[in-house]
């Protein structure tokens, strides 16, 4: 399997913050049409694609939303104020470029402050290069959401870009959809909305799908950078099989099955014990009467920054593991 750079770049550069996922949904729909039997969109905007099979009903969730900034105020000089949509650090946001759905670019800066530790989202603003409120209002409305302006680069080894979280999960799911020719199990690939604000799309889509098994595909952190907090996940060490994060302890038999699949197919893997964070798996496994759920994670450095970094090999290994897992007979 070759790394599909074009798909990856298009995924991470397509607009789709939490609550306004239309563009990315349309893009993903175009990529998977022809490879699935049925596609539907639910009332929150989740994209649910079914690839029919006779075995267990499996829901594979990758969230398509991304973190961003929602405009709350436009002042008389046309400067914009905002609130965060998802986890945004003011230190990372400082002096970044942002872009709106309509393509308008702005830059983020801060009111004069003496002490950098006083940097807060509430004293920062966006400059979209207009002269007054009226000009600004012609371009941007209160309630609009902007995202970090795309900036993609890759080399033989890694990708550096904003929004690997979780477009890399979407990449893995899309490549698996294309790679699975004769599905043994009944597969529901769900590209979820609003993960970044509280796993909301996964909650409602899992209720609708009623899966026998849930699998979330998302980024995880890494412990392999200078003086990083101890965390036994690193880049180029294979796909990560989640044991726990703050939202879930994965189903032990499903996890064991995933490990066996990786071993039997010579897919490099590492076990992930994450002491923070959550994924769609957290919402899925508590749905209705409970759903045995696991997660495949893509080791990623600098998560929620503008320079998230992941290994192409780990990504390909994640696709391989997902395909083999979904093609297997899962007995729990």
């Amino acid at each position: 399997m070759k790394f599909n750079s074009q798909l990856m770049e298009e995924l991470v550069t397509t607009y789709g913050p939490s609550g306004n996922e239309d563009n990315i949904r349309i893009y993903i729909k175009e990529q998977i049409e022809g490879y699935v039997d049925k596609i539907e969109v639910d009332s929150l905007g989740n994209l649910i694609a079914r690839k029919k099979g006779n075995g267990k009903k499996i829901m594979i969730a990758a969230h398509m939303d991304q973190i961003g900034l929602m405009i709350t105020d436009i002042d008389k000089d046309g400067f914009l104020r905002f609130t965060n949509v998802g986890g945004i650090s003011p230190y990372i946001l400082m002096s970044q470029k942002v872009i709106f759905e309509n393509g308008r670019v702005g830059v983020v800066y801060v009111e004069p402050i003496e002490d950098i530790s006083k940097l807060k989202l509430s004293n920062m603003f966006i400059d979209i290069g207009v002269n007054n409120k009226e000009e600004a209002e012609n371009l941007v409305n209160i309630g609009d959401i902007c995202i970090y302006k795309p900036d993609y680069s890759e080399n033989d080894n890694v990708i550096h870009t904003r929004y690997l979280d979780d477009r890399v999960g979407c990449y893995v799911a899309i490549e698996a959809i294309k790679g699975i020719k004769n599905p043994k199990n009944d597969l529901y690939f769900v590209f979820t909305v609003q993960e970044e604000v509280g796993l909301r799309g996964a909650k409602t889509s899992a209720f609708k799908v009623e899966p026998d098994i849930g699998i979330a595909i998302d980024v995880t952190g890494s412990g392999d950078t200078p003086k990083a907090k101890t965390f036994a996940v690193g880049l180029n060490k294979g796909t990560a099989i989640k044991i726990k994060d703050n939202s879930i302890i994965t189903h032990p038999k499903l996890r064991e099955h995933m490990v066996n699949i990786a071993r039997n197919n010579d897919i490099p893997y590492q076990m992930e014990v994450l002491e923070y964070g959550g994924t769609d798996s957290g919402a899925i496994h508590l749905t209705k009467e409970g759903v045995p759920t696991g997660a495949i994670s893509i080791p990623t450095r600098y998560v929620h920054s503008t320079i998230e970094t992941a290994s192409k090999k780990d990504i390909l290994d994640s696709v391989k593991l997902l395909i083999k897992l979904l093609e297997s007979d899962i007995q729990l």
Binding site: S18, G19, N20, D42, S43, L44, N46, M70, T72, D73, D75, R81, T83, N84, V85, S122, I142, G143, Q194, V197, G198, R200, G201, K203, T204, S205, F207, K208
Partner: protein, 339 residues
Amino acid sequence: MLLKKLTEASGVSGNEKEVRNIILDEIQDFVDDIKVDRLGNIIAYKKGKDNPKKLMITAHMDEVGLMITDIDDMGLLKFTTVGGIDKRILVSKPVLIGDNKVLGVIGAKPIHLQKREEWQNALEIEQLYIDIGVNNKTEGEKLVSIGDYVIFNSQYVEFGDKLVKAKALDNRVGCSLLIELIKEIEDIGFYGVFTVMEEVGLVGAGPVAYTVEPDLSIILEGTLCYDIPKLDSHLIPTHLNKGPAISLMDRTTLFDMEFRKRITKIAEENHIPYQYRKSSMGGNDSGKIHTTKEGSVTATISVPCRNIHSPTSVMSKQDYENTYKLLKTILLEYEKGEL
């Protein structure tokens, strides 16, 4: 007067009976179906012509308050808060305790006896007590029990330029709007729902949405208002007298953009003033409603209330009227199938 009756009634989260009875009494002749569910939510239904989308309008009945935790040897009462209450507003307020509404006052160490350092900080709840004018524990136990709910003793008063001061405007203002809609609107089918225990974690709303399965919901609220001068405009969540506040996002919901834009367009077309609720803090019943079962679309429309969650909340009757006008217009659009 309806809003007076509603705001002066006792209805701290988990003890909404008095408010519920007022509401049942007001609306029962104007609905086609009504029930109180197992948690105490009121689910009322008005029939209308068929509409492909099921509409639910909700308001929570409960208010923030206090609960008695202990009666000491002198007959003074210790208490805890129910819902989000700023401890700094408590001292020296009159309160009413339990079903019999026993009068008490919240007392603390007089300023003369406080050390200079003590002036710098708000008194902790542990340093406050409620004095109900008894001499000892036995006398106290005759009047109140541990677990009794406590409300602020605060009357509904109209003052100034069409302003209202009352306790519990969050969310009796929503209840009042919904009651009036239920009574006035004819031949438009919708669910009118009054929920319990919003202030302690949106408790009633989830089960209600599970029962009703709405496609569209409008959550009516009294929301925070902090419109003092010299504050940068982006730090003002809502203004008094600038009309109903439409929510963008809060801790529990990213409000559906299409539905929100439809509502603001309806307001513009009908020359009804509106504003956005600029804060992303707080949350409301929408958080549970829109993620129940397969999910649904919600919007929140609020009447701005200064000094929210205090005995002296303040709202504008003009905002109330404009909010009502907007709701009525939305319902007419709904009837036309244009929502």
